[in-house]
């Protein structure tokens, strides 16, 4: 980064060093300090005509209290929200531009590489052995109110997010938010916490947090949480597992009762099964929980890839083919019937925008693996 005016940076650095020296005087316990240890302060007091003002401010109790008051007298959360709203408006335009630029390097758009070669001796067509993607009737993000009433929210695609700000009407009442495939959704809770719901996900949340805890239920899918710090613990229930935090950022992905993945970005977090044996993890760690067997596995991961979906990218970092297809299935609302001879554990490296056409993604996978995609009927593909 280059600064327009290098002189500004020099004085900025000087100011920072000065602050360090002032603070180290404040923090030192001994009254006797050799002033020669603080050359910056000495120069500052001698040469800078404003030094007296600041010293006075720090030494006068009322002025200091007033300064601290001013320091806190603002609403960052609200301004961040405003910023998000503003960039949302420019985003669509930008994406089109970006796509145009990246077309020149189209070969690089999907980078898939294979680390294990698949050995497929024979193809025997055995129809439908496995299938995933749940039957969907809802096609737009839908809010199911506690009264049972269903409200279809503006049909949003990945490039558009809507915000629902819940208002406290009747406490302890839950709304359910259903996000169908091909969409994602940003929800702001009553306490200011933000939830990004991935495609094909379902979340119940209270209209207002009234009790001593903040309780949410993730029924299926994936969600990224940015929890506002508060003395009330924030709980997300997934089946019979529960994630507890206070104020932090984390991502939960529910692949089924035997695989619940939680990644922590900052702060601290605990995962418990049936409310017992809470396991705590640290930032940068992923915990995979099998809620049937009770097995827990913790590993350090590159958290970056767990955030990509929020911005509409699919990222596979030596993930098994099956996981990649699961994501594609969510984003493109398609189903895969996988031949049992296909090794779904082949590790795949891929990074692509969910705006890429499906054909292109299939082609890239086909080029590198021996897997073939065949369209069967509306939205269903045979993989062999």
């Amino acid at each position: 980064m280059k600064f327009e005016n290098q002189e500004d940076l020099i004085f900025y650095d000087k100011g920072m060093k000065l602050a360090d020296e002032i603070l180290s005087i404040l923090q030192s316990s001994s009254e006797e300090k050799d002033l020669n240890d603080f050359p910056q302060i000495l120069d500052w007091i001698r040469d800078n005509q404003y030094s007296g003002d600041l010293i006075e401010k720090l030494c006068n109790e009322d002025e200091l209290e007033c300064a601290i008051k001013n320091y806190n007298n603002n609403n960052a959360a609200q301004q961040v929200k405003r910023f998000y709203n503003s960039i949302e408006k420019t985003r669509i335009r930008k994406k089109i531009l970006k796509t145009a630029i990246s077309i020149s390097g189209i070969a690089a758009i999907i980078i898939l590489s294979i680390f294990l070669s698949i050995k497929q001796d024979k193809y025997t067509v055995i129809p439908q052995t496995t299938s995933f993607a749940v039957e969907q009737e809802i096609t737009a993000p839908t809010l199911i109110l506690n009264t049972g009433e269903m409200v279809e929210l503006e049909n949003s695609t990945y490039s558009k997010q809507i915000e629902v700000i819940s208002e406290a009407i009747d406490p302890v009442q839950y709304n359910k938010l259903v996000v169908p495939p091909k969409c994602k959704f940003r929800l702001v809770l009553e306490d200011g916490s933000v939830v990004f719901l991935n495609a094909d996900s379902e979340l119940s949340y209270p209209i207002s947090f009234s009790g001593n805890t903040r309780e949410l239920i993730l029924h299926r899918g994936e969600a990224y949480f940015e929890v506002v710090k508060d003395e009330r613990p924030f709980h997300v229930t997934i089946g019979n597992a529960k994630v507890s935090v206070y104020g932090t950022k984390f991502n939960v992905s529910y692949h089924g009762p035997e695989k619940i993945e939680t990644v922590l970005f900052e702060g601290s977090l605990g995962v418990a099964l049936n409310n017992i044996n809470e396991t705590r993890i640290h930032p940068g760690e992923l915990i995979t929980l099998n809620s049937i067997s009770g097995d827990k596995e913790i590993k350090v991961v590159n958290t970056r890839k767990f955030l990509t979906w929020v911005n509409g990218f699919v990222c596979c970092d030596e993930d098994p083919l099956r996981l990649m297809l699961e994501q594609v299935s969510r984003w493109y609302n398609v189903k895969f019937l996988i031949d049992e001879n296909v090794d779904t554990k082949i590790p795949i490296n891929a990074y692509f925008s969910i705006e890429r056409p499906l054909d292109e993604i299939f082609k890239s996978i086909e080029d590198i693996t021996h897997v073939k995609f065949t369209k069967i009927e509306g939205g269903k593909y045979m993989v062999k």
């Binding site: 603070l23 001698r46 603002n74």
Partner: protein, 190 residues
């Protein structure tokens, strides 16, 4: 295990790629410092400090070639942007006096302002280290709440709230007491 600093580096990487979540993170993180400075500059003008900060972040969002290797540089860049924006604002105002005055006092004042932001923010963080109950009550006190209203909010006796507030002030005073003496000493010695 990734430490706090590594995590921030990682987030800064996203920030450089213009990732909205990372932008929001640093927006929130640096907001108080930036606001304190902007409010100081734009005092007595019709410009709202939050608008100045918003504009600077929007400009940065749209200048995707501007990248940072560390948080220090990012913060420096933002603060300097606020200062330059203010200078341009004065330049466009009809009052030549303020502009000339600002340019004259510019760097000395800037250095002192930076020191002020850092010291105030550190003292403010010290409030966060107070016992939890104390800190909560003291924050409300700083927000201008009356003892009576704080007592109502927490369902506590006024005397309890008063005692907690006093305790907070005493702890802080103890922490800061040395400041008075030492800084004043420095001042006179200097």
């Amino acid at each position: 295990m990734s430490s706090g600093i590594e995590k921030e580096e990682l987030l800064l990487g996203y920030f450089n790629d213009r990732d909205s979540v990372a932008f929001g993170y640093f927006y929130q993180k640096l907001y108080k410092d930036l606001y304190y400075y902007a409010a100081k500059l734009y005092i007595d003008t019709e410009v709202l400090p939050e608008d100045a900060i918003h504009d600077i972040f929007m400009t940065l969002w749209n200048s995707s070639n501007v990248k940072f290797d560390n948080l220090y540089k990012l913060k420096a860049y933002l603060i300097i942007s606020i200062k330059n924006r203010y200078r341009n604002y004065l330049d466009h105002q009809k009052s030549k006096n303020r502009y000339v005055k600002f340019c004259k006092e510019n760097q000395q004042k800037f250095e002192t302002d930076i020191a002020e932001i850092e010291v105030i923010s550190s003292i403010n963080n010290a409030i966060g280290l107070l016992p939890k109950e104390c800190a909560k009550i003291f924050r409300l006190h700083l927000d201008g709440w009356e003892v009576k209203d704080i007592a109502n909010k927490f369902g506590k006796a006024q005397s309890t709230v008063y005692a907690q507030k006093q305790k907070a002030i005493n702890i802080l005073k103890q922490k800061l007491k040395s400041i008075d003496i030492k800084l004043l000493m420095l001042f006179f010695l200097g």
